[in-house]
Symmetry: C2
Subunit: 147 residues, 2 copies
DNA sequence: ATTTGATGTAACTATTATTGTTACATCAAA
DNA sequence: TTTGATGTAACAATAATAGTTACATCAAAT
């Protein structure tokens, strides 16, 4: 199993929200969906998660999403966490009911918990070193957009 | 989405395979399934993956799986890779068809690829620092099994 | 050789999460 | 009041996992 596409789509959408300002393109879910190549409702769902995570503001009714913080202050970890559902704070899944009457089954969870948590944390810490600006800069450059 | 339970089950099974030697319990898929609390076929499928990855040998016909290398030479990354399907070498999924006619859609994949790959690699490198012995030792101690 | 009890594997089901889609109430600005 | 957007529920399609049944095959012991 792999991490869902919401994370990649969220980065894509946030880049658009920021750069579209320079191109006078309005950030409607329809416009964003065209670039991502999906249905507008898929975009709105992700927009809703980003809003809940306080990364963007959206004016309901009229098309207009914008970042709540400058892109250098939005880390990829912020974005990653924003689009994960609550039960996904654990990256690694475990079999739920190992046999407690078996000497291994009774202990296996506590034995593997910490290393798995450490591995996950390491990945998340690395994500936290990247910011939205890292995604925006090369695209702005290629399109001669002065930030 | 979370990483499937095969990884956790595989560690569980490998611990059993090694420690059952000291308890004169045979490593049939049925015994292993009892401890994991699942169907024997689920175990056989994971056993097949571990065999393919050269981590264990299994004598077909008669119940008897055993490690191919000492547990300190089997890393959690070895196990993790063993139970992932081929298309899962990428941890992070991406939306497959961003609009190539959009200035962002055309570049988003190449922009996010490297950071995602780095984050994944970091996690995998951390997994490679743990070995099967790390899971075996505390359980052996708790059960007074002298390794 | 035959029996026994295991593995190997195909095929099917159930469950679950994601993603896509339709529909519609609600909102904010012109 | 109209317009064109968001917010969200509800449902469908797809895909992966995990569980299950069934059975061919194998290897050792009798």
């Amino acid at each position: 199993m792999r991490i869902n596409t919401r994370f990649a789509v969220a980065i894509h959408v946030l880049v658009l929200i920021e750069l579209n300002k320079y191109k006078d393109i309005s950030n409607t879910s329809e416009h964003l969906a065209l670039s991502v190549n999906t249905n507008p409702v898929v975009i709105r769902r992700i927009i809703a998660m980003l809003k809940k995570a306080n990364l963007i503001t959206v004016k309901a009714g009229v098309g207009g999403a914008s970042l709540k913080r400058p892109p250098q202050n939005i880390s990829w970890l912020d974005i990653y966490h924003a689009v994960q559902s609550d039960d996904e704070f654990m990256l690694f899944n475990k079999h739920e009911h190992p046999n407690q009457n078996c000497y291994v089954g009774a202990s296996i969870h506590e034995v593997i918990d910490e290393p798995l948590h450490i591995a996950q944390k390491t990945m998340e810490e690395k994500l936290s070193t990247f910011t939205l600006l890292d995604a925006i800069t090369p695209i702005a450059k290629k399109n001669k957009i002065a930030l």
